[in-house]
Symmetry: D2
C-alpha cells in the first residue's frame, strides 16, 4: 500500500479571527494532496482532465482534532480507501509533527467532460491499476 505525502505551510490569509487556520482550507489542502498523489505517479491531474476524465467530489468529511496555526508546516498523508470502476475515496491524515490534527475523506465519481459516468476500469485501465496500488493490501488482492 502506497501513500503520498504533501507538505503545506499555513498561509496568513488562511487564518481567521479565532487565530487558527479556517476549517474551509482543509478541503483545499486535501485537493492539493490529491494533485500531488497523482503527479507523484506520473498522472498530472490536468492531463487527466485534458484526456476527458474528471473527478468531481460527491462527499467530503473532516474531523478536526487540533487547530493549525499560521506558519505551521503540516504534512498530509494521503491514501485511497476505496476504488471501483465508478468511484474512488481518498483518505487524509493531517500531521503537525507527530500529532494527527485532522482526518478526512473525499469521495469522487469518475465522469467525462459531459459530466456523465465513466467506467474507469474499461476506459482508463492504466489509471485504474495505478490508483489501486494505493489501496490497503488486502483490498488490493481482491481486485
Amino acid at each position: 500500500m502506497k501513500q503520498s505525502q504533501t507538505t503545506i505551510q499555513v498561509r496568513y490569509a488562511e487564518t481567521d479571527q479565532m487565530g487558527i487556520a479556517h476549517h474551509s482550507n482543509y478541503a483545499v489542502w486535501f485537493e492539493q494532496a490529491r494533485t500531488e498523489l497523482t503527479a507523484g505517479i506520473g498522472m498530472h491531474y490536468r492531463d487527466l482532465e485534458a484526456m476527458g476524465l474528471m473527478l468531481p467530489l460527491t462527499d467530503l468529511s473532516c474531523h478536526y482534532r487540533l487547530p493549525a496555526l499560521y506558519e505551521d508546516t503540516l504534512v498530509i498523508q494521503t491514501g485511497i480507501t476505496f476504488l471501483s470502476a465508478a468511484r474512488v475515496t481518498f483518505g487524509y491524515r493531517v500531521m503537525k509533527g507527530e500529532t494527527v490534527i485532522c482526518t478526512g475523506e473525499t469521495r469522487h465519481a469518475f465522469v467525462g467532460r459531459d459530466m456523465r459516468p465513466v467506467n474507469l476500469k474499461k476506459r482508463f485501465p492504466e489509471v485504474f491499476r495505478t490508483l489501486s496500488e494505493f489501496l490497503p493490501e488486502e483490498e488490493n488482492k481482491e481486485e
Copy 2:
C-alpha cells in the same frame, strides 16, 4: 421547530476550471448560514465571541448532489439537529430553486476564549434555550 434561510449568490471567484462552484465554498456558505441563524434570533456571533463563547468546528460533512454555477442564487435552509450542554450540530440544505443540490452538517464544541469546554446550559442558559427552538420538536420536549 424553527429554520433559518440564507440567500447566497455564487461569486465568480468561487468557480473553478470545471465551471462550477468549488466544493470548499460550501463550508464558507454554511458558516454564513450559521451567522444569519444566530443574528436572526438576536445573537450576533461576534457578540457571542465578545462574551467569551466560541464554537469551533469539530466535524464537517457535505454531500454534493448537483453543481452550483456562477451567478446562481442559492437558499440555505439551516436547522439544529443536536444540542447538548457541550455541543451543537447544525444541518444544512442548499436549494437551487426547488432542488436540493447539497446537504451538510457541522458539529461544534462550546469553548471559552482559552479553548476549554464551556457548559452552555449553565453559563449561557438563554443562548441554550434560544438555540433549542431550532431542534426538531420531539427532541425539544426531551430537554
Copy 3:
C-alpha cells in the same frame, strides 16, 4: 452618470488573525460588484461569457483606509472611470456607513474565448453603449 450599489456582509472565513477582513477579499467583493453592475443593466456576466465576451483583469489597485470587521455590512459603489473599444476601468468605493474604508480600481481588456482582443464598440455595440452610461458625464459626451 450611473452608479451601481452592492451590499456585502463580511464572512467569518474572510477574517484573519489580525481580527479584520483579509485584504485579498476586496478583489472578490469588487468582482461581485461588477457582476451586480452588469446584472443591473440586464447583462448577466455569464451571458456575456456565453456570447464569447470575457473581461480578464489586467490591473488591480486597492487603497485600504480602515479595516472591515466580521458581520460588518459594506456597500460598494461602483462606476466606470474609463471605457474604450478595447478596455474598461471600473472604480470602487467601499462604504461602512458614511465612511469610505477602501477605494480601488480594476482594468480589464475585452477578449474573446480565444483570449484575443475584441473591439467592443464594433462587436457588441449595445454592451458598449450601456457601459458608457456609467462614465462621468463630461466623458460621456466625448463619445
Copy 4:
C-alpha cells in the same frame, strides 16, 4: 540588494471558470512571499506579531501580464522598494519559467497591537536594519 524567492504551485481551488488562476490569489501569494522573506532572515512573522509589531497592508497593486494555470509552478521574487521608520513597500515579480507573468507592490504601515503607528527604527532597530538589506543598493547607502 537581497531578494527572496518563493515557490508556489497553483491549486485547483485557485482556478476559476475562465480556466486560469483567479486574480485574487496573487495577493495571497504575495503574502506568502513576505512570510518567506522574513522567515529567511530569521524573523518569523508570527514572532513579530507576538512582539507586538504588525504590518497591515495599506495599498496593493497588481499588473497581470499572462495567466497562470492549474499545477503551474511559479516563482515569486520579492524585494523591498521603500523603507522608512513608518512604512515599507514590497515589490514582487511572479515568474513562470523565464517569463514575468505578474508584477505587484504592497505598502504596509508599522503598527502595534493597538493599531497605532510604531517607529520601526526606534522600537525594532534590528528588524529595520535587516529589512534595509533588501533595498536597492543606492537607497541602502542613503540610510
